[in-house]
């Protein structure tokens, strides 16, 4: 073939300068999901919503009717499995991943894998620092203390609290005491007194616990099984509002013992940074000898000490 530099270029009518390799001609179009599919997916999603609510209500009903406490993981596994199925349906059909380029699905799956790592490693860290290094294990006040929300540093409060201080009490406990005082005062005013008498205080307490348990009843819980209710920390401190001798003195309920209410109390979780929770004081006054924490070891038997803290 002979070509000279000034050959006239004859354009190919098929040639598209915006698509020199002809890649754009394989027009693949977009998948249009049928209205019937969309409707079916919606109905399945609604069915699963009703199912997860029904199973959750059934659990509450079984607990109240047969007076049993079902394991918490059962509830979690069922609810999360149903939620995952729903999420997959939304992703595959409503978001169109099933008919889409695989790249979009791969990106989202990598992200979800990252989230699982995130949750997994944070979770195993919590209770296992002691396994890595016994020095890092410390007592985690089980159930926590709830303190520390109105600490001051150099006299400057770091809290954005609308209340200047809770007098060193946990907020929930502070408000409970405040409300008891308010009710006693209301009782006193009703009888034309300016200061509540002992009777007013008792009547205020009775009113308080009536409302306290009424709240429970409104939430669909059986009013008379709270002593067995693992979720009621007052109940676990052996408070019963219908004791034979009438109203229990409120002084029996103290937040100092609140750690006992936690299901993890007997296990004595260890792991958080030393000094972050609890003051390391001995909670073993009620004879729990099996849950010695490293902080308790100062007065423990030497064998016990060697087992948990090699530094001694």
């Amino acid at each position: 073939m002979e070509h000279s530099i000034d050959d006239v270029h004859i354009p190919n009518p098929e040639f598209d300068p915006t698509d020199p390799h002809g890649l754009g001609h394989g027009h693949h179009g977009h998948h249009i999901i049928t209205a019937r599919t969309l409707m079916t997916v919606l109905l399945i999603l609604l069915f699963f919503t009703v199912l997860t609510v029904a199973l959750s209500r059934a659990e509450v009903w079984i607990q109240n009717t047969f007076d049993v406490v079902l394991p918490q993981w059962l509830n979690i596994i069922i609810a999360m499995s149903i939620a995952t199925v729903k999420a997959v349906l939304v992703g595959a059909y409503f978001m169109g991943l099933r008919f889409d380029k695989a790249l979009n699905s791969i990106i989202m799956l990598i992200c979800i894998a990252a989230v699982i790592c995130f949750l997994f490693f944070t979770s195993i860290d919590l209770g296992n620092r002691g396994a890595v290094s016994p020095l890092r294990a410390t007592v985690l006040s089980p159930g926590g203390t709830g303190y520390g929300l109105d600490r001051t540093y150099d006299g400057i409060s770091t809290a954005a609290s609308p209340r200047p201080s809770t007098s060193g009490l946990p907020i929930a406990e502070f408000r409970r005491k405040e409300r008891l005082a308010e009710l006693a005062m209301e009782e006193a005013h009703e009888h034309g007194r300016t200061e509540p008498t002992e009777a007013d205080v008792a009547a205020g307490e009775a009113e308080f616990w009536r409302i306290y348990y009424q709240d429970y009843v409104d939430k669909g819980k059986h009013p008379h099984r709270h002593e067995h209710d693992e979720h009621n920390y007052f109940a676990k401190l052996h408070f019963a509002h219908h004791d034979a001798d009438g109203i229990e003195p409120v002084s029996r309920i103290s937040l100092e013992n609140v750690a006992e209410s936690s299901p993890n109390y007997s296990k004595r979780l260890t792991g958080l940074t030393p000094g972050l929770f609890g003051d390391g004081s001995d909670h073993d006054a009620h004879g729990d000898t099996h849950n010695k924490s490293p902080n308790d070891n100062h007065d423990a038997a030497p064998a016990d000490t060697a087992e948990t803290d090699p530094d001694h």
């Binding site: 915006t18 977009h30 999360m80 939620a83 939304v90 944070t122 939430k219």
Partner: protein
């Protein structure tokens, strides 16, 4: 095939369909080979953005998991303060709106502008209903009873000293989700205005409908997990 410069569109003879935003008048950016490639690139970008949204909510889910492990009693007590009926109703509202938005995308793909507008309007009504239920039946009664997050907690009948922490996770989780509902509603309103005013979406031009719909579905996805975690698990 030629590209159309958005600033100098190939306008047909003057008329209702002469606006550059009318879907048949839309072209694609010069660095794409064709409109499909541009559409796929936009969608890929949207999916990348959605992964960052998932990671944002993952932080909240992680906080939920950790504090649940630390304070199971507080979480159980806190969950009892939530009414599953409002949570369930809001779940149904969001699932329904996800369906209408998916139907809206389908309508745009089919070139049915009237159906697109109809579906978007229903979706926006659902968004409003969701936020209304959240505020009127949940946030306002709870906050006025003192069930406020963290240090603002003042409810005297708490069953556990860590309920303030539960409320922090509850308000942050549902609050950021509700913010996403509002942002999603804003995006869909924008789509709606363009659909009404310019008939901007059709079979070859519906990128904005698709990406806004993806955002809306993500909002739905997050709620699918928030609802059982907060309302159903005790």
């Amino acid at each position: 095939m030629a590209t159309i410069d958005a600033n100098k569109p190939d306008l047909p003879a003057a008329g209702a369909k002469s606006h550059p935003l009318y879907w048949k008048n839309r072209g694609f950016a010069h660095h794409f080979r064709n409109a499909d490639e541009q559409f796929d690139a936009c969608k890929l970008g949207m999916w990348l953005f959605l992964t960052t949204e998932v990671l944002l909510f993952a932080g909240i889910f992680c906080a939920y998991a950790i504090f649940r492990m630390l304070y199971p009693d507080a979480w159980a007590a806190g969950s009892h303060h939530l009414d599953w009926r409002f949570g369930g109703l809001n779940t149904i509202v969001l699932l329904f709106s996800s369906w209408t938005v998916a139907s809206g995308v389908r309508a745009a793909q089919m070139g049915n502008n009237a159906a697109l507008i109809r579906n978007l309007v229903i979706t926006l009504i659902c968004a409003g209903l969701f936020v209304f239920i959240k505020l009127y039946f949940e946030y306002i009664p709870k906050l006025s009873a003192g069930k406020a997050p963290g240090t603002f907690f003042s409810y005297p009948y708490a069953h556990d000293p860590h309920e303030p922490l539960w409320w922090s996770v509850y308000y942050i989780g549902t609050g950021i989700h509700a913010l996403h509902v509002l942002i999603g509603a804003g995006l869909l309103s924008w789509v709606l205005v363009r659909a009404i005013r310019y008939e901007a979406y059709g079979p070859t031009e519906y990128t904005m409908v698709e990406t806004s719909a993806l955002y809306w579905h993500l909002v739905d996805l997050v709620w699918i997990f928030l609802f059982p975690l907060l309302y159903l698990i005790h």
